[in-house]
Symmetry: none
Subunit: 364 residues, 2 copies
DNA sequence: CCGTATTTGTTCGTATGTATT
DNA sequence: CAATACATACGAACAAATACG
């Protein structure tokens, strides 16, 4: 077999039909074209068509009636009792993930549900593949941390498939603009960063660098808070003080950009960072450059993670209610599972963060 | 079709083979004649033979191997194809858990398996409940971090149920003595602690405190390594220098015990800790007591976690191959899933740890 | 009720691809 | 490398169930 996709013809047809069903273009009870018609349309032999169909019959997507035709089966029957909830995260890291999943697990375990864990590594295609996989596994609901949520989601059709199959889902941390009217448990990222930058400005700092993640909505919103706080204090917004990084260059870009600024002699009073990881890296960079925190430069983190207390100079940061967020998401989802009309009642919780003042900021 | 039984040829062959298996004339592992051979013998086309075989493959009576042949499957219990693997951990914490699960996930995702995650909070009854739950959910295998593995397991019957149901499982980090001949991927805890204490002794320390967890087998084994290293250096074993703690008092007991020793004026040269978390706590205690590390007292950790590098004085510790361990466990489990006779071939991997020398130990 | 067209079900033959031994 | 075994694919014929005029 030497097809472009190096995939068997019958498998391609199988996937095609399966997709039509998942995407709702084929609804339960709908008749598919006859074997002969398909064979002619797709210029393959009837035998090959039959092979594809027989697999889908075996998997429960189709059923055949002798002399009548082949039809799409209603697969929603056993869905409601699996007592499994899918959790799709972007990263399984030491950072805030463990506490969030702890919160989710505590609520789900109490209600005798299990977590099916998937992580995308912030890869949009994996997100699509995993939603499809979980559709197959009959989960009763999903908790999803969106992948690259600042970008337009190309996986919209998969979310629509979830809607059609009556599988509720809750977004955490971020959401897609196209799916704004879905349930979501998020932090008020704008307000959080506003608090941090406002605090820096009140301490007398004027040249405040902002470091933000460009590819998720949290980064975009935190940047908004940064700009708003500057405006309040009549500090002109200078794009030269704003550093944007992406998932792919997260380990190099922020440090490199700050280093360039400082060695170019640009005045820097303070640096407000996208999160504690960045702040920790910036702290180490400044130390290596011979600058002391907070005497020479103040820095703020975000998330109130273990890093903010483990850092030699404890970081002033913005509280992220990690476990609580997981708990709320799980509770909201279970309510949606019980509610037949959940699509009309999306739940949006925007958690107000608070500033945690520690040792990494000083008066100017 | 006008056969005597008015039955399709392929159905007859199917029933015939199925009967041979049920009557025990075809035993698990036996090879059936090749498709061509059967076609010739029974004077039917190879296609018809294939149809019969494909049904039996689907029903789980046979399996085919490309290029080799078609074999009889061990079918005393219906081996499902849920493509789910249960993972039972003791804690979902920031500590080493995320990296271990990352390793597990990377291998399972590659093989299109999903993780069903359960955490016991080190509660033996929850362990039992979750094994039972996962039996219900048709997982194909389990990766289990044993709960309180130093104690005699009262959940033996649940593990026996797994055996009876042909659901393979792999222990990680520890194991139960009663289930010693099951697959297990563990660290050589004794050797690891031996290296650490040996290193301390070679630096000239004699009064070496050891802090160990009493309720898991890792603690017991690490204690053995501690004792062996002392013996090698002719340092008498003094129970007064050994601190045992349990899951429940892990946050208070070690610090309290060390504090008591020091305020009682007992000479302490070095402290070798059960893990980096304990070492980190002890570091903070010593700092608060005005002792400096490593000048006044040397300390060692265990696990090479983020804590050992985030600690203001970077900890000398023992390397724990967190991701690798997860990967190995997942690979071994998948091999067992494919092996009908996995119970006779337990895989035991004991990973040799190595000492990571950083800044928390000094010559006496 | 009959006949015809359509649709799925069964069977055969043939050819070629690919993995294993 | 050759032989063997399973995998994919095409084409053809006929059987059996159904739909419809």
């Amino acid at each position: 077999m030497h097809n472009e996709e190096s995939q068997a013809k019958y498998l391609k047809l199988k996937e095609y039909i399966k997709n039509e069903i998942l995407m709702g273009r084929l609804k339960p009870g709908d008749q598919i074209p006859s074997e002969n018609a398909l064979a002619q349309m797709l210029s393959m032999s009837r035998n090959t068509v039959r092979k594809a169909i027989s697999i889908l019959v075996n998997e429960g997507y189709l059923y055949t009636e002798h002399g009548r035709g082949t039809y799409c089966r209603d697969r929603n029957i056993n869905r409601k009792t699996s007592r499994n909830i899918g959790v799709i995260t972007t990263y399984i890291s030491e950072y805030i993930f463990p506490k969030v999943i702890q919160g989710i697990d505590s609520v789900l375990a109490q209600n005798k549900y299990s977590i099916i864990l998937k992580n995308t590594g912030n890869d949009v295609e994996k997100e699509a593949a995993y939603i499809e996989e979980l559709l197959d596994k009959d989960v009763e609901g999903l908790i999803i941390e969106p992948t690259k949520s600042a970008l337009f989601s190309c996986n919209l059709k998969y979310y629509e498939a979830l809607d059609r199959n009556n599988i509720p889902y809750v977004f955490i941390h971020g959401y897609y603009q196209q799916l704004e009217n879905r349930s979501q448990i998020i932090l008020d990222d704008e307000d959080g960063m506003y608090c941090a930058v406002n605090y820096l400005a009140e301490l007398g700092h004027r040249n405040i660098v902002g470091i933000f993640k460009a590819d998720d909505i949290q980064g975009v919103n935190r940047h908004k808070g940064y700009a708003r706080a500057l405006a309040k204090h009549d500090i002109p917004y200078d794009p030269g003080y704003v550093i944007w990084f992406h998932t792919e260059d997260r380990l190099t870009k922020p440090s490199y950009a700050v280093k360039s600024m400082i060695s170019a002699g640009k005045p820097v009073d303070a640096i407000s960072c996208y999160n504690d990881q960045i702040a920790f890296n910036i702290y180490e960079l400044l130390r290596d450059l011979g600058k002391s925190v907070p005497e020479d430069i103040s820095i703020t983190g975000f998330d109130d993670s273990y890093l903010s207390v483990n850092c030699p100079v404890k970081l002033t940061t913005v509280r992220h209610p990690k476990e609580e967020l997981g708990e709320i998401a799980a509770k909201v989802l279970l309510d949606m599972v019980a509610d037949n009309d959940y699509l009309s009642n999306p739940v949006k919780k925007i958690i107000k963060p608070e500033l945690i003042i520690r040792d990494s900021c000083a008066k100017r």
